[in-house]
Each structure stands twice: as C-alpha cells, then as structure tokens.
Amino acid sequence: MSDTKFILVVEDDPVLKNLLGHTFAGKYQTLYASDGNEAIALFENNKPAVVLLDLMLPTMDGFAVLENIRSRTDELKNVPVIIVSNLGQQKDMEKAKALGANDYLVKAEVAVEEIVAKIEAQIAEKPAA
C-alpha cells in the first residue's frame, strides 16, 4: 500500500484547479480532468481512491459522470465521490445523493482545508482492499 493516494479532481475552472493543487501538494497524487469525458477516461485508467467532482462541466455534467461511475460492474463502482460544486440548491444535493454521491460540498462555503478533511474521512471509511 503506497502512502500517497491517487485523487481525481474534476474541475473546469483553471484558477480553482490550481488552488486545489496548491493545497493537495505533498498530500496526494492528483489527477485533473476539466470535463466529463476526460473524467471518465482518467477514472478508468487510474483507479483513484477518491473523486472530487464538479457538477457544471463541459461535454458531460457531473451528474452524468457520477451515474456512469455508479453503474459500473467492477470494483471501481464504489469509489467514494465527493461533489464539490457551486450548485447548492436542495434539489441538486438531493439528486447527487440519490445518484450515490458520498458527500456534497458547496465550494464557496467551505475552506480548502475542509475539503482535505472530507477526503480523509472518505479514505478512512473505505474498507481496506
């Protein structure tokens, strides 16, 4: 078991992507996708420990990406997905939860450090493979 985990960050805003990278540096090995299709491809090839998923994305939105992951038949089906989006209405949260999101964070309302804490919580919760 390696000490640094692979995290897949799906975020289309370059500035926010850099800021997340700044925070995650030294903590995780991070892969970035800027749209839905890229996210699916990277997810399949790299088997990340946790996915941070934005909802408003080009090509395929976050809900569709989540749906795609949860409809898999292999062990990747249950990879924890944390929604990190600025959509924050009740209906969005309910929809994401219903599709199988493990957590939901509204970007503007959380400090970057809180995201790290949520990632840690998901890694700790996941039974050892």
Binding site: L16, L19, Q89
Partner: protein, 364 residues
C-alpha cells in the same frame, strides 16, 4: 332578510289586499243590495245575489292564492336560484380560487345574467393577473439562483487563494490585511447563500421535512449558543423553561433553528449593554409559542408594518450598524407560515423593547 322572505311577504301582502278588497266589496254590495230592493218579495233574489257574491269572493281569493303561489315558484326558480348559484360561485372563487361556470343562466332575468357575465369576466382577469405574478416570481427566482451561482465561482477563488496566502509567512500587518479580505469574502459568500435560500423558499421550491420536534430542547440549545455573544455585548440572556412540558411541534427542525437563531440574535444585537433578553416558551391550543422579549431600541410605529418586508431595515437599525442585510425576518416569517405557524411581534407594554413570538403547530 333574505330575498325569499321579501318575496313571500310581498305575495302575502298582495293576497291580503285582494281578500280585503273582496270583503270590502261584499259588505258594500250587501248593504247596497238591501237599499236597492226594499221590497220583501225580492228578499229571495237578494239572498241569491248575496250568496253569489260570497262565492265570487271565495273563488277570487282562491284564484289569487293559486296565482300568487305560482308567482312565488316562478320568482324562486328564475331569480333566487340563479342568485344562490352565483353566491356559491363567488364563494368558491374567493375560498379556493375555483371557477364555476356562471354563464349558464339562460332563463335568468337580464340583470342577473349580466351580473353573472361581469363576474365571470372578473374571475378571468384575476386569474390572468395571478398567472402573470407566478411567472414573474419564478423568473426572478431563476435569475437569483443563476446569478448566485455565477457569483460563487469567483468568490471561491478569492476565498481559497486568501486561505492559501494565510499559510505563508506574513508580517503582522500583511496578516491583518489577509484576514480582513477573508472576513469580507465570507460575508459575501453568506449573502449569496441567503439569496439562494430566499429564492428557494419564496418560489416554494424548498421542500420541508416535517417531523415531531422538541421545541423546548431546540430553543434551549439555540439560546445557549448566543450566551457568548450576549456576554460580549453585556446583555443578560435568560432562557425561561415552560410551566408545563410542551407538546411536540410539527416542524422542520433545521428551518426552525434558523428562525430561532435569527430572532434571538436580533434581540441580543439590538439590546444595549445592561439590557436583557428573555426567551420564553408557552403552549396554547394546537400551538407552541416561543417568545423572545428584549429591552432593545424597539421598533418605531412607522417601521412596524414593514419589518417583514425584504431588504427592509428600520432607520434606527441601519444607523446603529448592527450588521444584517434586511432579509432575515422576511425569510423567517415565510418559513413560519410555510409551517402553518406565524412570526409576529409586539412592542413591550411595560418598558422599552419588543417581543417576537414564533408560533408553530403541534403534532396532530
């Protein structure tokens, strides 16, 4: 007095009048006949004539009774029934906004049919206006949620960048600047969040999860949370438990907590040092009440009608720079009424200050 009673009285009056005139005619004729035929031999003829007169009077009375009865039935059928149907239709529209077709009065008098037609046009106008209002409100809500989302993305960048900057080695004055910028960005984030809450609650999009809630425990917990703020602002904050245990309320605990946070915080903030805030609980018929009584600056009579309006801030509240964006009470009341309860206030009868009262329905 109902229209039916009026018609009955009218008809009875007419009937009485016809009987009375017949009786008068009879007595008059009766005397005249004797004067006309003084001869005893003609007595037989007089008697016959008198008998005929009585019969005539009786038949006329009977006929007028029948005719008036028919009149009554006709009036009832063509005037009273359409009017009653109209009253039901107006009531249905007023109570449930339900439209009953009132144009089907083919046999009703012209005036009644006209009234029905005018009312029908009126309901169509009212419905159109209402539909427009709903549409405008929906567009406004959509606009607010889109705008709020657009605001949030750059705000996230500012916030996260400042948080990263905070971790660098900074001089004291640089740190103070970063902290101010961070505080202000948090404030903006909160305003955007509040706007989104309002648009959801106002457009009826917010789905409440109603469950039995122990209002006593919830209120006590919220009051405790403000202990620190009260101490800092030198306000005595008291929690007064109810005399009898409160029944459970039917409520969305998160939303009620939001209201309580708002009214208790307002009370503490608007009370000058040395003053007090009392949080009291009470149960009534089908209701639980939370009273928050402060000894604060009070609400001026000219502001009383407006404090539940969006973005309204009383002049003395603005001048004191107590923070707030003028949205809290508006949302709080909307949430309370969505619960089937209410949020209201009264100036204290004795001494300065205001008492806010939140009422919520109990579990049925």
């Amino acid at each position: 007095m109902s229209l039916r009673t009026l018609i009955v009285l009218n008809i009875l009056g007419a009937l009485l009048l016809s009987i009375a005139s017949m009786a008068a005619a009879y007595f008059f004729m009766h005397d005249q006949l004797i004067a006309l035929f003084p001869n005893a031999a003609q007595a037989k003829a007089i008697e016959t004539l008198q008998l005929l007169l009585i019969q005539y009077a009786a038949i006329t009375a009977a006929a007028s009774t029948v005719i008036t009865g028919i009149c009554f039935l006709v009036l009832s059928r063509y005037l009273i029934r359409p009017l009653q149907a109209m009253v039901r239709g107006i009531e249905a529209f007023a109570d449930r906004s339900e439209r009953i077709d009132l144009t089907e009065f083919a046999h009703a008098p012209k005036e009644v049919a006209e009234l029905a037609r005018v009312f029908n046009d009126f309901t169509i106008k009212v419905e159109d206006a209402h539909a427009r209002d709903v549409e405008v409100s929906r567009m406004k809500s959509d606009f607010i949620s889109t705008a709020a989302h657009q605001f949030r993305t750059p705000l996230t960048g500012i916030r996260w960048a400042l948080e990263a900057l905070e971790k660098e080695t900074l001089t004291e004055s640089q740190m103070a600047l970063v902290t101010s910028a961070k505080d202000k960005s948090h404030q903006l984030v909160n305003i955007v969040g509040t706007l989104l809450d309002i648009s959801a609650i106002e457009s009826g999009k917010h789905k409440y999860t109603f469950a039995p809630v122990d209002i006593e425990a919830l209120t006590h917990a919220v009051a405790k949370d403000f202990g620190e703020l009260a101490e800092r602002t030198k306000v005595s904050l008291f929690y007064v438990p109810p005399e009898n245990p409160l029944p459970l309320a039917r409520a969305d605990a998160e939303q009620v907590k939001w209201i309580l946070n708002n009214i208790i915080e307002n009370a503490v903030r608007y009370t000058p040092p040395g003053g007090s805030v009392r949080v009291m609980l009470e149960s009534g018929v089908d209701r639980v009440f939370v009273h928050v009584r402060d000894t604060g600056i009070g609400i001026k009579p000219e502001d009383r009608g407006n404090i539940f309006e969006r973005f309204y801030r009383a002049e003395n509240a603005v001048a004191k720079e107590n923070g707030g964006n003028g949205l809290g009470l508006y949302i709080a009341r909307t949430i309370a009424t969505d619960h089937g309860g209410d949020l209201n206030f009264e100036p204290n009868k004795e001494g300065p200050g205001t008492t806010f009262t939140l009422s919520l329905p109990v579990v049925s």
